[in-house]
C-alpha cells in the first residue's frame, strides 16, 4: 500500500488516474481508517488531501459558501458565516461521531462514504448543495444527491474526487434544520435523519421547502410530498401532520440492528415535524 500526500488538486488527480489498483481518498479518515484497520478494504494507494491548501479553506463566493474537501466539521462550525447561513448543515456536521472525530471528519468525506445514514448528507441535500468534482476530464459540478448511487457506491469515475462543496446562497427568509434519532447522545449512527430547508414570506407562510430523509432507504430520500405539505402553510399542526405522514409513507427502511421498519417509518415523521418547526422559526428570523 502506498500513501501519497500531494499538494495540488492536479497532482491528486494524476495519482488517482494512474493507479492500476484500488485507490482511496483520505480526507478526515474517520471512515477510511476504520474500514482499513478492520480489514474491509485493502487499498493499493491512499491519497491524502490534507496537504492541498485550497481544500482546507471555507470561502464566500458570489453564489454561496464553498467548503473545501479537507475542512473538518469542527472548523465548519467555527465559521460564523457558515453557522449563520446554513445552521442545518452545520448542526448535522457537528453530530458526526464525537468531539474528537469532528476535529477530522469532513462533509465531503461523509458524502463520498455513501452511507444512507450519513448525518450531513440529508442536510446538504435539503440545502441543494453542489459537489465540485475534479478529475482527469477537468472539473464538473453536480448536486450532492447524485454522488451516492447506493450504500458505499458513488457515481465518481476513475480519477475523480470531490474537492469541495458549495452551499448555495439563500433567499431572504430561508433557513434549515437537521435532526437525527439515535438511542444515545453521541458516537452513534442515525436510525433516522431528517434535513429540512424552508423559505417563508413576510406573513410567515412557507413558499419553498425541501425535505430529505436519511437512513430510511438505500439512498438519501427527497420527499416532495412532504415539501408540498408545508408550502402555502404557516406550519400549523395540520400541515405538520401531513408532512409527517408524507415522510412516514415515503420511508422504505429495513429491519436491522438499529431499528425496525415500523419504528423508523414513525420516527421519520416525528423528526420531520420537529425539524420543520425549527427550520420555520429560523427562517422567520432571516427575513
Amino acid at each position: 500500500m502506498r500513501y501519497e500526500s500531494p499538494t495540488t488538486v492536479e497532482a491528486a488527480v494524476t495519482l488517482l488516474a494512474n493507479e492500476a489498483g484500488k485507490a482511496h481518498i483520505l480526507a478526515g479518515g474517520t471512515d477510511l481508517l476504520v474500514r482499513l484497520r478492520s480489514g474491509f478494504i485493502e487499498p493499493d494507494l491512499i491519497v491524502d488531501l490534507k496537504r492541498i491548501d485550497a481544500l482546507k479553506s471555507i470561502t464566500m463566493e458570489s453564489d454561496g459558501l464553498r467548503v473545501g474537501a479537507a475542512v473538518p466539521s469542527a472548523m465548519l462550525n467555527e465559521h460564523a458565516d457558515a453557522v449563520a447561513g446554513w445552521p442545518g448543515v452545520c448542526e448535522a456536521a457537528i453530530l458526526i461521531g464525537s468531539t474528537q472525530v469532528q476535529g477530522r471528519a469532513t462533509i465531503s468525506g461523509n458524502l463520498c462514504n455513501a452511507s444512507p445514514a450519513a448525518d450531513s448528507v440529508p442536510a446538504m441535500v435539503a440545502a441543494r448543495a453542489i459537489a465540485r468534482i475534479s478529475g482527469p476530464q477537468g472539473m464538473r459540478d453536480v448536486p450532492v444527491e447524485e454522488i451516492a448511487t447506493g450504500p458505499g457506491k458513488t457515481s465518481l469515475a476513475k480519477g475523480e474526487f470531490v474537492d469541495s462543496i458549495l452551499l448555495p446562497k439563500r433567499a431572504p427568509g430561508t433557513s434549515d434544520a437537521y435532526l437525527r434519532f439515535i438511542p444515545r447522545t453521541e458516537m452513534d449512527i442515525a436510525v433516522v435523519g431528517v434535513g429540512i430547508c424552508v423559505t417563508v414570506d413576510k406573513t410567515g407562510t412557507c413558499t419553498a421547502a425541501r425535505v430529505a430523509l436519511g437512513a430510511v432507504a438505500a439512498k438519501i430520500l427527497v420527499v416532495e410530498a412532504a415539501a408540498q405539505a408545508l408550502i402555502g402553510t404557516k406550519g400549523d399542526e395540520a400541515a405538520l401532520n401531513a408532512l409527517a405522514a408524507a415522510c412516514s409513507a415515503a420511508a422504505t427502511p429495513i429491519d436491522d440492528k438499529r431499528g425496525t421498519v415500523a419504528f423508523r417509518k414513525e420516527i421519520a415523521g416525528t423528526l420531520a415535524k420537529r425539524a420543520a418547526k425549527i427550520a420555520l422559526s429560523r427562517a422567520e428570523k432571516n427575513l
Partner: protein, 760 residues
C-alpha cells in the same frame, strides 16, 4: 476473624482517607504496560480462525496451504490439545478446552477452529484465509426458551438434565435444574391480599472492558516458559494453560499485565492456552491480541434470561409468598449463573414462603463468563419490578415497603444462611432521607427505586511484605488490581505499620513469586488480600519487635509496635527511646537478616453488601428515548478503605447496569450470527448519556474483617436494571418486561398499553 476492636471507635490515620492511586500517573500518561504492550526478540504474531457458523460439524481442516505460506511458523487445531488425563477428569477444564479450540463441532459464531503464528500480522491474516475448513452447517438455537423445547437442535449429545429425578435419558440442552425455597408458597399466596405475576426477559450483556484480551507466550526448548497476559487471575491462567498443554504447573510462569477492565470477563482463558501451544510448536515467542469483534463473538458475555416472578403481599405490606422460575442460557457450555440468580432473587427480603426454580440451558452462543455479580442483576430486575408494583398497588411508599420486608442483621437469608451484620436497612433509610427523594418530577418523568444484594467472596489468598533497607515496604499480592486495590493494600499496610501511605509500594506478583491466589472475583480483593495484608504487616511488626528486643537485650514480648516504632511494652521493660522502622531496617543484617511478614489464608467471612438505587428518568413519548435525569446510589461498604475507589465502583456498576437496561444486547440474525460485534451497535452508555452518579457510602462494619471491610465491586450492578425499569414504568404508565428498553421496544410498549396500569 473477629474484629480487633469496635471499628466505629477506631481512628484511622491512613485507611479511609483519599490518596492518589499508585497506578494512576502511569495510566494517564500511557506508561502503564497492558496486555498488548510486551514484545520479545523474534516475536511471532498469532491469529485465530473462527467459525462463521453458529453450529456446524467440522468435517476436516486442511492447513497445508497456510503452512506453505512464507512466514508461517506454526498452526494449531484441536489436535494439538490432546486428551491429557488431568483435563478429562475435570468437566469444566474439558469445556474450556473445547471452548478455546473447537473439536468435532463449532458451537457458535466466532468459535475458534484453528490458530496461526506468523512472522508478522499481515502474513498471519493471509494464512487464515488459506486454511480450508469443511463445515456441515447444522440447525442452531440462540434463544433460551427455544433451546429448552423437545425439538430444539442439540449442542451436546452427552448432556442430561442434572437435578431432576425423572429426567429422560436423551440428549437435551437443559444442563441443570435447581430449586430452593422454604414454606408452602401456595398457602402464602392464599394469605396475600394482592398477588402480581409477570414474565420478564433480559438480553445478553457483555462486560465491555476497554482492553481486548492479549497475551504473549514464550515457551523454551526445555518445555518451560513464560506467559504475559491481561487477566484477573495469573494463577488460574497458569494452572489451566499448563494442564491443557500437558505441562507441569511448575514449568509455566504467568505474569499479569495492567488490566484495562475485566468485570469478571477475564476470570477465564480464551487465547492464552492457544498462544502457549503455538509458541511451543514454533519454538518462538507468540503474541495474540484480540480485536473488538473477537471479544464480542468469542469471549463471555453474561447469560440472557427469561424470568417469571410471582409475589403476594398483605395490605400492611408483608410479603407472604415469593416465587420465581429463572431460565438462563450460558452459551455453548453448561454453567450459566442461574443458581446465583435464584439465590439472590429475594435476598433483600424476608418473604414468609419462597420457591425458586432455575434452569441452566446451553445455546449456540459464546460460553458465558462471569459478569459483575453474575446472575443477580436480571433476577433483581424481575423481582424489583414486582416489588415496586406491589407497593404501588397497596398504596405504600416503595421504600417503606422494602423497609417493611428488608433482610436485617441476624435474619435468615432467603437462600439459607443467617446474615451477620448487614446494611440494607441503612441504605433504604438514607435514600428516603436524601434530597433526591423529594424533588418534584415534571411531565413524562418517573422515579424508580431498587435494592440489590451480592454475597461477596473470600477465597485463597497469599500476601508477602518485605521491609526495604530504608524502612519503606514492598508488598506483593497475587490478585490483579481491577478497581484501585493496590491503593487500598498500601493504605492497610501503612496503617498497620504506622508509616506514611507512600512508603508502601504494592505489586501484583507473578506466579513464581508468591503462593497461590484465587482470581480477582467475588468482590474479594480489598476484603481478602486486605485481610492478608493486615496480617502480614502484623507478622512483620512482630519480627520488628523481636529485633528491637534483641538490640535492647530484653525479652521479645516486652516490646510493642506503635506509630511506626518499636517501644518498650511498659515501665518494667526498661527505658529505651522508640526505635523507628528505618533504624530497624538498617540494622536488619546484624539482627537476623531480612525482615518480612507473610500470610496465607482461605478467607471466610466476606460480609455481603447491599445497595439501594434511586433513579429519575424522562421518556420521550414520541420516540421511546429514555434520559436518565438523576441517579443516586447508597451502598454499604463496611469500611471504605479508599472512599474514592469505593465511589468509583458504585458509579461504574451503575453505569454498566444502566447500559444493560437501556440499550446493550447481543443481536443475532436468523443464521445465529452476531449482528453487532462492535461498540458502534453494541451500545454501552457514553459519558454524555449520563448525569453525575451521586453516591453515599454507608458503613456497617463486616465482623469478618479486622477493619470491617466488605466488598463493594459487584453489588452496584444489581439494582440498576430494576431501578431504571421502575422509573420508566412510573413515567409512561406501562411496565417494561423486556430489557434492554431500547426505543423501538419502549415505543411499542407505550402503544400497546395505552391504558395506564391501574396502580401506577
Amino acid at each position: 476473624m473477629p474484629l480487633d476492636r469496635d471499628p466505629a471507635d477506631r481512628t484511622y490515620k491512613v485507611v479511609g482517607h483519599r490518596h492518589n492511586r499508585p497506578d494512576g500517573i502511569d495510566k494517564v500518561t500511557g506508561r502503564a504496560k497492558f496486555g498488548a504492550d510486551l514484545a520479545a526478540p523474534g516475536l511471532l504474531h498469532g491469529r485465530i480462525l473462527r467459525s462463521p457458523h453458529a453450529h456446524a460439524r467440522i468435517k476436516s481442516i486442511d492447513t497445508s496451504k497456510a503452512l506453505a505460506l512464507e512466514g508461517v511458523k506454526a498452526i494449531v487445531t484441536a489436535a494439538d490439545f490432546p486428551d491429557h488425563p488431568q483435563v478429562l477428569e475435570d468437566g469444566e477444564l474439558t469445556n474450556i478446552r473445547y471452548n478455546v479450540m473447537a473439536r468435532e463441532k463449532a458451537l457458535y459464531d466466532g468459535h475458534a477452529v484453528a490458530a496461526v503464528a506468523a512472522s508478522n500480522p499481515r502474513i498471519a491474516a493471509k494464512a487464515l484465509k488459506l486454511i480450508e475448513v469443511d463445515y456441515e452447517v447444522l440447525p442452531h438455537v440462540v434463544d433460551v426458551e427455544l433451546a429448552m423445547k423437545d425439538d430444539a437442535p442439540i449442542l451436546h449429545d452427552h448432556i442430561r438434565t442434572e437435578g431432576m429425578e425423572d429426567a429422560p435419558d436423551c440428549p437435551t440442552n437443559v444442563a441443570e435444574r435447581i430449586e430452593l425455597g422454604y414454606g408452602d408458597v401456595e398457602a402464602g399466596f392464599a394469605e396475600a391480599d394482592v398477588v402480581i405475576e409477570r414474565q420478564f426477559r433480559t438480553g445478553a450483556a457483555h462486560q465491555g472492558y476497554i482492553e481486548p484480551h492479549a497475551c504473549l507466550a514464550n515457551i523454551s526448548g526445555d518445555g518451560s516458559g513464560d506467559l504475559w497476559c491481561c487477566t484477573q487471575g495469573q494463577f488460574m491462567v497458569r494452572d489451566v494453560c499448563a494442564q491443557l498443554n500437558g505441562m507441569d504447573v511448575s514449568k509455566l510462569r504467568v505474569t499479569p499485565s495492567e488490566i484495562g477492565g475485566g468485570f469478571g470477563g477475564k476470570t477465564t482463558v480464551f487465547i492464552e492456552p492457544v498462544a502457549v501451544a503455538l509458541s511451543r510448536k514454533a519454538g518462538k515467542p507468540v503474541k495474540i491480541v484480540m480485536n473488538r469483534g473477537e471479544v464480542f463473538r468469542a469471549t463471555g458475555p453474561t447469560a440472557s434470561s427469561a424470568i417469571w416472578v410471582k409475589m403476594g403481599c398483605k395490605r400492611d405490606g408483608t410479603i407472604t409468598a415469593a416465587q420465581a422460575e429463572l431460565k438462563y442460557q450460558g452459551g455453548a457450555f453448561p454453567g450459566s449463573p442461574v443458581s446465583m440468580g435464584a439465590m439472590t432473587a429475594f435476598a433483600c427480603y424476608q418473604p414468609k414462603t419462597l420457591k425458586a426454580i432455575g434452569w441452566d440451558v446451553v445455546t449456540n452462543r459464546p460460553k458465558q463468563a462471569a459478569y459483575r455479580a453474575p446472575g443477580a442483576p436480571m433476577a433483581a430486575f424481575a423481582v424489583e419490578s414486582i416489588v415496586e408494583e406491589l407497593a404501588h398497588t397497596i398504596g405504600m411508599d416503595p421504600v417503606d415497603f422494602r423497609l417493611k420486608n428488608a433482610a436485617t442483621s441476624g435474619s435468615k437469608s432467603a437462600y439459607g444462611p443467617t446474615y451477620s451484620d448487614i446494611g440494607l436497612v441503612e441504605t433504604l433509610e438514607a435514600v428516603k432521607a436524601h434530597p433526591n427523594y423529594a424533588i418534584k418530577l415534571g411531565p413524562n418523568q418517573g422515579r424508580g427505586v431498587a435494592s440489590g444484594f451480592w454475597f461477596n467472596f473470600g477465597g485463597q489468598t497469599a500476601v508477602t511484605l518485605n521491609l526495604n533497607i530504608d524502612g519503606t515496604v514492598a508488598l506483593s499480592v497475587g490478585t490483579p488490581d481491577i478497581g484501585g486495590s493496590r491503593a487500598s493494600m498500601c493504605a492497610m499496610a501503612a496503617e498497620e505499620l504506622g508509616i506514611p501511605y507512600h512508603h508502601v509500594q504494592t505489586i501484583i506478583a507473578d506466579t513464581g513469586s508468591l503462593g497461590f491466589n484465587d482470581v480477582t472475583d467475588g468482590s474479594r480483593v480489598t476484603f481478602a488480600s486486605g485481610l492478608a495484608t493486615i496480617e502480614a504487616a502484623r507478622n512483620a511488626a512482630k519480627v520488628l519487635c523481636e529485633r528491637a528486643a534483641k538490640i535492647w537485650g530484653i525479652p521479645a514480648d516486652a516490646v510493642t509496635w506503635e506509630n511506626g516504632c518499636a517501644v518498650p511494652a511498659g515501665p518494667n521493660a526498661g527505658e529505651f527511646p522508640p526505635m523507628t522502622i528505618k533504624e530497624l531496617a538498617k540494622k536488619a543484617g546484624e539482627t537476623g537478616g531480612p525482615i518480612a511478614g507473610h500470610f496465607e489464608v482461605s478467607a471466610d467471612g466476606a460480609g455481603p453488601s447491599f445497595a439501594t438505587h434511586l433513579v429519575d428518568a424522562e421518556v420521550d413519548r414520541e420516540t421511546g428515548r429514555i434520559t436518565i435525569l438523576r441517579y443516586l446510589i447508597v451502598q454499604d461498604a463496611g469500611k471504605a478503605v479508599s472512599p474514592a475507589y469505593v465511589e468509583g465502583q458504585m458509579q461504574g456498576g451503575a453505569v454498566q447496569g444502566i447500559g444493560w437496561a437501556l440499550n446493550e444486547e447481543y443481536i443475532y440474525n436468523d443464521k445465529g450470527v452476531m449482528e453487532n460485534p462492535g461498540f458502534l451497535d453494541y451500545r454501552v452508555p457514553v459519558a454524555s448519556d449520563l448525569p453525575m452518579i451521586d453516591t453515599q457510602i454507608v458503613e456497617v462494619p463486616n465482623p469478618g474483617h479486622p477493619y470491617g471491610v466488605r466488598g463493594v465491586g459487584e453489588t452496584s450492578i444489581v439494582p440498576p436494571l430494576g431501578a431504571v425499569a421502575n422509573a420508566v414504568a412510573a413515567a409512561v404508565g406501562a411496565r417494561p418486561e423486556e430489557l434492554p428498553m431500547s426505543p423501538p421496544r419502549l415505543l411499542k410498549l407505550m402503544k400497546e398499553q395505552a391504558q395506564p396500569l391501574a396502580a401506577e
